[in-house]
């Protein structure tokens, strides 16, 4: 029996096949967006709403023309621009006008007696119209979250200067699956402490009917 060497397989068309597959995957790929604003809805409860002092409410109303009306710090309501919202929200939350047991040790604001007592008491309330655009709503939500994050960052850096990171970075690291369990455990306490110090008290009323 003569030994026959196996004939070489022609690999010239391999590139063509690979190209075909490549083009298929190129076309079907959608770079999926996987980010967003996390929020919690209030549960439906038939309890009487607690009575809150007016100075502790940062009352925002967005109308059908996407204008913002702000009622806070003892005024009757002023039209504000979206770009000023973050600054005003931070000033309101950080005011620390409380006295006695409501005094706020960590607030760095103006201590205006007409404005919020402390982080715990300050409530941001948002009411929108049914015809408000979703884009504006998201922008307002974004600015309010940004205001809370700004304060949380400040307090986090003050409380844990050795970590050399901000609250947002710490939170991101905490939810990153690559972070080791030991790091997560130590971060968790710190994040929870800051969350407790500056709770997000955010209330959304059901929208008004618009005619």
């Amino acid at each position: 029996m003569a030994k026959r060497s196996a004939p070489e397989v022609n690999a010239g068309s391999m590139a063509d096949i690979a190209f075909l597959l490549l083009i298929f995957f190129l076309v079907t790929t959608t770079i999926e967006i996987d980010s967003g604003l996390n929020r919690k809805l209030p549960p439906i409860e038939e309890t009487e709403p607690p009575i809150i002092k007016e100075r502790n409410i940062f009352q925002l109303t967005v109308n059908r023309n996407n204008d913002l009306l702000l009622k806070a710090n003892g005024n009757d309501g002023e039209l504000i621009k979206l770009k000023d919202l973050r600054k005003k929200a931070v000033a309101f939350l950080d005011n620390g006008g409380g006295k006695g047991e409501d005094a706020c040790a960590k607030c760095k604001g103006k201590k205006n007696p007409q404005s919020s007592d402390n982080f715990e008491k300050a409530i941001i309330s948002l009411q929108n119209d049914r015809a408000t655009s979703y884009e504006t709503y998201i922008a307002v939500q974004n600015e309010i979250i940004a205001a809370y994050n700004e304060l949380r960052n400040r307090e986090f850096e003050l409380a844990y200067p050795s970590l050399n990171m901000s609250y947002v970075e710490a939170d991101k690291m905490y939810s990153d699956p690559k972070t080791s369990a030991a790091d997560k455990a130590s971060l968790k306490d710190k994040i929870e402490a800051i969350k407790l110090l500056i709770p997000q008290k955010f209330s959304e009323a059901e929208p008004k009917k618009s005619n």
């Binding site: 590139a15 690979a18 604003l37 979206l82 979703y134 504006t136 998201i138 922008a139 994050n149």
Partner: protein, 159 residues
């Protein structure tokens, strides 16, 4: 008269294409790994608004998607008012409760408290529809929600 004869071997040697398949395979593997197959075919326009305080979404299998927006151009007969899409169909706000119940049934019991509802809403939608959705979600106690957004400056397109 061969003085001006062309020099032998003056033309460029052919470039070897032997490594071409390797390069193509490399690209192929990248796209194969990076590809996420779309779960639903969107029948609505879905341009997301931008925001910069975004957080990453939780695990993919713990998400329930609710889409809303104007019907896209191939579904003109559905009108021009913003509508809701659940799975692959246009739906009514009242169908959300059934949808959430079905999603919960398909998950393991210990996963249910971690389920997040992702609202993927077109930016030109009115808040009325979004509020109705939120109200429905509150009724079935699906309180963890996420407004899906692009990363970007939220204020740029607004006044």
């Amino acid at each position: 008269m061969s003085k001006f004869k062309k020099k032998k071997g003056g033309d460029l040697p052919a470039i070897s294409t032997a490594s071409l398949p390797d390069i193509v395979f490399m690209l192929l593997f990248f796209f194969m790994v990076a590809t996420v197959m779309r779960q639903n075919t969107l029948k609505i326009e879905n341009t997301l608004p931008a925001a910069d305080q975004v957080e990453k979404l939780a695990k993919r299998n713990l998400l329930m998607y609710i889409y809303a927006g104007k019907p896209s151009s191939s579904y003109k007969d559905m009108g021009t008012v913003a509508r809701l899409q659940l799975n692959d169909k246009f739906a009514d706000v009242s169908e959300i409760a059934a949808f959430i119940a079905a999603e919960r049934d398909s998950k393991r019991e210990e996963e249910i408290p971690y389920l997040t509802t992702v609202l993927s809403v077109d930016k030109e939608t009115n808040m009325g529809l979004v509020s109705d959705i939120k109200q429905e979600l509150r009724k079935v106690n699906a309180l963890k929600i996420n407004y899906k957004t692009r990363k970007g400056d939220a204020l740029r397109d607004l006044k």
